[in-house]
Each structure stands twice: as C-alpha cells, then as structure tokens.
C-alpha cells in the first residue's frame, strides 16, 4: 500500500485562495488509510466550511476514481469538471501528477503527503514502511525482510554495531493527535533477518558477503517499458 498522511487544512485552503469552484478527487487504489469517495466528500465539506470561516465561499464537489495514477481511468472525470477552477487530489503523488498532466491547464493540488510503501501492523495499528522500490529486490536473500527499507542505514552486511538485543540505535519520536510524544525504538532489520534465516535453517545466506550495490537501478527519475 502507498501510505499517505493528510496535509493540514490550512495548507490546502492556502492553495485554493484564488478559486471558488473546486473538485475533490479521491482514489480507490492503493492509498492507506483509504482516500476514496467518503474521504473526498469529507474533504469537500472541510474545504467549504474552512473557506466560510475565512469569509470566502468555495463550492466543493467530490468524486473518486478507480485508479488516479492511470490515464485511462482519469478520462472518466470529464463532465464533473464543468465550471471547476481547481482540483484537490486525495491520491498519492503519482495520482496528483497524472491528474495535473491530464487536465492541464487546470491546477491540481495535493491533499496528502505521500509517505512510503508499507503495510499495516495490526497488532500496533501502525502503518510501517516495508519497501523503498530499490529496483533490485533482495528479499530472496534476506528471509523476506527488507534491509533497504527496514535498516536505518540500508546496510547490505549488517547488523551494525548499533544493534543491541535486537533493537536499532536509531529511535523516532512520534506525536499522536493529542500531542503526546513517544519514542519508538525500531527492531534491527538485520537482527530480524538473522533470526528468520536461522529459524529456517538458511544461515548460509546470512554468512554470505554482499558486494557494493549498483545505485543506478534506484536512482531517479526511473522508467521502464511496459508491453
């Protein structure tokens, strides 16, 4: 899933200052938390109410697309766009850019910060980064645990000296909605790789030296030929 986090409403209202008619477009694709019709409608409402507080009157409609990053799918917006002066996209950065290109010169604004490719850890209710789309997947050597996304240093030959009792030296401070700050100590990716391979009787993989990577496969901008 592509993990997104909503931008502050003030930022979105800031983008919309010059406009009166806005379309909020959700995406039914891979964003997590979901950013579909329900969330688009709620965003449209927030925009209308927020603009009223600023003594402005924005009319915001809402709709959604199956996949905002797909050119064929966005063509479906067609008549919804009548009279619209600006689009607010609920999708990830790829969706925003697809709309911006498809409907130029109509301005398109992001309502989300696109965070990472990840999954939900249900036991903690957290969304966790899992993959950095490095272009040369190593999961086959590492017991299905990604050292690029989950090791703070992206090491190929870990664990480093910062690993103690399975924990990483790098901590993160996370602030919740109530403003409470908690320090999270991550599990050491390489320690998890060690344990998994050990338990699977495949420690030979852990013993193998991994040479320098070719950074070209993960250097932006990237594209591949499809069909």
């Amino acid at each position: 899933m592509i993990i997104v986090e909503q931008k502050p409403l003030e930022e979105i209202l800031g983008y919309l200052k010059p406009y009166k008619k806005v379309l909020v477009v959700g995406c039914d694709g891979c964003t997590q938390p979901p950013r579909s019709l329900r969330e688009a409608k709620s965003m449209a409402m927030q925009v209308e109410m927020g603009s009223k507080l600023e003594k402005k009157d924005i009319t915001a409609k809402a709709t959604t697309l199956v996949k905002q990053c797909c050119k064929d799918s966005v063509a479906g917006l067609g008549e919804m766009l009548e009279g619209v002066e600006a689009i607010v996209s609920m999708a990830c950065g790829a969706g925003v850019q697809t709309l911006a290109e498809a409907f130029h010169p109509l301005p398109v604004f992001p309502a989300q910060n696109t965070m990472f490719i990840g999954s939900a850890e249900h036991n903690q209710g957290d969304l966790v980064e899992k993959c950095q789309a490095c272009g040369d997947c190593l999961l086959g050597y590492t017991g299905g645990i990604c050292p690029v996304a989950l090791c703070a240093k992206g090491l190929m030959n870990g664990p480093c000296g910062g690993c103690y009792q399975g924990k990483c030296e790098v901590t993160k401070e996370v602030t919740d909605d109530q403003g409470n700050v908690t320090t999270i100590q991550n599990d050491c990716a390489w320690f998890m790789i060690y344990e998994r391979l050990r338990d699977q009787g495949r420690l030979d993989l852990f013993k193998t030296y991994r040479p320098m990577r070719d950074a070209r496969v993960s250097s932006s901008p990237r594209s591949i030929k499809w069909a």
Binding site: A152, K153, G154, L155, M156, N157, G158, P159, C160, G161, G162, C163, Y164, Q165, E169, V170, T171, W190, F191, Y194, L203, F206, K207, T208, Y209, R210, P211, M212, A215
Partner: protein
C-alpha cells in the same frame, strides 16, 4: 587471502607480537595541539605501536580524521590508525580520501559503518551509507591488491599502501550475528579487527573462539580502564553491548568514599592494573588474539604498568 604489512602495526602483528594500540579523539575545533600532546604521551610510553584517530564519533562532526591523522603522525611520530566511517561519504569520497591517506603516508585505515546521524548533533543531516563497513574493507583491499577503484577502473602510479582493519563488538547479546558479520569483513579482506570495549573476560574469550571457527583474522581486544565509578557505570548503562562486572562497579563505588584524592587514585589505579593485567594474560592465550586496543583518553598513568604487567610471565 594475501596480506602484506605496510604499517608497523601490521608488521608487529605478522611477526607474532602481542601489540597495543591507543585512541585519539580530535574535537570540534580547528586546533589539534592537545591531541598531538596526548599522542606524544602515548608514544613516550614506548609500548603503544599505533593509535586510532576517530572520525566524527557519535555522529558529531570534528576535525577531518584524515587531516588530523596526518598532523598527529607527523608531529608526534606515533603511527596512526586512520578511522573512516561510511555514514558521511559516498564510495567516491571514501576512495579519494583513501588515495590521499596513502599519499600522506598513513598506513592503517579502520573501516567503520559509523553511527547514524540521527544519534548525533545534526539529526537533520542526510545519512549516506553508500557502502557499509564490509564493502569499505573490500574497496581498500581492491585498491591495494588489484590497483582498482570502486568500479574496477585502474589506479595509476605508485602502489597503494594501506592495511585495513574492521571493528567488532564482542559483548553483544546474542553474539552470533556479530561473529558472522566480522567473518564477512575478514573475507572481504580485513587485515585485523579492533573491538569495542569489553570488560568480561569470559565473553572476550568466547568471542575469540567463535570467530576462530570462521577465520584466523587477528583481533585486538578493546579495553577501557575507568578512572571513576561514574565512568564505569556510564559504560555499563549507556554504551551498546558493554557490561561492566558488578564486582568492579561495587569496588569503584566504595572507592568514592575515600576522601583523600591521591589515595583514591592510587586505589583506582591499582585495581585497574590488576584487573586488566589478568584480563590480557587470559586473552593472550588464544591464537587469534593479537593485541589490545587501550582506550584510556586522559588516563595515561595506568597504560605502561598494565602493559608491563601483562608482558611479565
């Protein structure tokens, strides 16, 4: 794997001598005078073959370890082990610093992953980690033995003369992943290993034995004679993988009660000397034990007696 000795440190190790190295830490200033003085003190003990020059320890930037290493070696006459971290430099920057080191007559380089910048005084800084410590060892090895750079391009001119070391943390729990990782560094071409501080002799011996099952790379075990209870308990509490035995902590706590400063110091020195002489005598028995890395910055008095004691039969 072929090993040539370019440094006095490596020559001594290959001659089968039990060697002692020290540690020097340049600060966040453009002045290196006090570090050169400390290097001179180490040199004058007549027992330290080389000293490490740290590279932005704890991810707090200080004088470039390359510049510091050169000046320290030139002005004190003590051979240095130039430390180099992967945290701050891409493979190109590492390589060009290594060429510079060889040109400047530095003969030992120690490869470190380096702390994450998030743990230092500039958490906003971008972490590099283009290579990890094992890959940096391989880079040095290829420069020396193949005359090749990071991409296999030829290096022209004089041979690169560098002995490369790696680090280990023998006190980690569990220690097996660490042992395997150190073995990877040895196979990538590490000439020697220097370890993080360790106090517990059993753990040190266990590490040496476990490592010997993978490689015969020579190990210099890190020791740290604490000057006070505060220092000892700091290591125990805050340094990853370091456990200080309870006996030592309790005894040092008692020393705190001695009011006469000189007397207290005498007791502390005495304890340290006995403790570490015994420690070194034990680890020396292992074949892959090649020396001790003594981290006693600002505490020179015990260095010579510890070494003399450990050398006595």
């Amino acid at each position: 794997m072929e090993t040539k000795a370019f440094s006095n440190l490596m020559k001594a190790i290959m001659d089968g001598k039990f060697v002692y190295t020290g540690e020097l830490e340049p600060h966040k200033t453009a002045d290196i005078t006090d570090v050169v003085e400390w290097a001179t003190t180490l040199k004058n003990t007549g027992k330290i073959v080389a000293a490490n020059v740290t590279d932005n320890p704890q991810s707090m930037a200080s004088i470039s370890s390359l510049a510091a290493s050169y000046v320290i070696q030139r002005d004190s006459g003590l051979e240095v082990v130039y430390q180099l971290r992967c945290s701050d430099r891409s493979r190109m920057a590492l390589f060009s610093d290594l060429l510079g080191a060889s040109m400047l007559g530095l003969r030992n380089v120690l490869s470190l992953t380096g702390d994450h910048p998030a743990t230092g005084d500039a958490p906003q800084s971008k972490p590099v980690f283009d290579l990890d410590s094992a890959q940096l060892v391989e880079l040095v090895h290829n420069m020396v033995y193949e005359k090749k750079d990071y991409a296999g391009n030829e290096i022209h001119g004089p041979d690169i003369q560098l002995n490369v070391g790696g680090v280990a943390n023998p006190g980690l729990d569990p220690v097996e992943p660490e042992v395997i990782k150190v073995a990877r560094k040895a196979h990538a071409g590490a000439d020697f290993i220097q370890t993080q501080v360790i106090f517990e002799v059993e753990a040190a011996l266990n590490f040496l034995d476990m490592l010997a099952e993978y490689t015969d790379v020579p190990v210099l075990m890190g020791i740290f004679p604490p000057r006070s209870y505060g220092q000892a308990s700091f290591f125990d509490k805050f340094v990853t993988g370091v456990t200080v035995p309870k006996d030592l902590l309790d005894t040092f706590k008692k020393f705190k009660e001695i009011e006469d400063k000189a007397k207290r110091k005498e007791k502390v020195d005495e304890y340290n000397i006995t403790y570490f002489v015994d420690f070194i005598k034990e680890i020396r028995k292992k074949k892959n034990s090649a020396g001790c890395h003594i981290m006693a910055v600002g505490y020179p008095d015990v260095i010579a007696p510890i070494i003399t004691g450990a050398e006595g039969k």
